[in-house]
C-alpha cells in the first residue's frame, strides 16, 4: 500500500477530510466534497451501506467522482 494509506491507517480516522484517503487527490476530493462526502467517515458509511461489497463500492466511486480503476482500488 502507499505511504498515504499507511499514514491514514496509523491513527483513528476521526474527522479527517476525504482527501486523506489513498487514491483521492484534489480533483476527486473536490467532486466528493461537492456531493456531501467531505469526510472519510462519510465514505466509510457508504461502504457499509453497500454491505462492504468492494466491487459495488468501486463502481459507486467511479460514478460519484470519476475515479479510475487504480484510484478506486487504492
Amino acid at each position: 500500500t502507499s505511504q498515504k494509506h499507511r499514514d491514514f491507517m496509523a491513527e483513528p480516522m476521526g474527522d479527517k477530510p476525504v482527501r486523506c484517503l489513498a487514491g483521492i487527490g484534489d480533483a476527486l476530493g473536490k467532486k466528493l466534497e461537492d456531493k456531501g462526502f467531505d469526510k472519510t467517515y462519510v465514505v466509510l458509511g457508504q461502504f457499509l451501506v453497500l454491505k462492504k461489497d468492494e466491487e459495488l463500492f468501486r463502481e459507486w466511486l467511479k460514478d460519484v467522482c470519476g475515479a479510475n480503476i487504480k484510484q478506486a482500488r487504492d
Partner: protein
C-alpha cells in the same frame, strides 16, 4: 434502465430479492447502483 428508475424502493428491493441478488438498503446514495445491477442481471 427506465423500467427500474420508475420502480419504488420497495419494488426494486423485491426484484433484487426475487433474483437473489445480494444487496443493502435502497438509499439516495445506493439506488442507482442497484438499478444498474438489476438491468445487467436481466440483460
Amino acid at each position: 434502465m427506465e423500467k427500474y428508475k420508475g420502480m419504488t424502493d420497495e419494488e426494486l428491493i423485491t426484484s433484487l430479492k426475487k433474483f437473489n441478488i445480494p444487496h443493502g438498503p435502497i438509499l439516495k446514495t445506493t439506488r442507482k447502483l442497484y438499478e444498474k445491477k438489476m438491468y445487467e442481471f436481466e440483460s
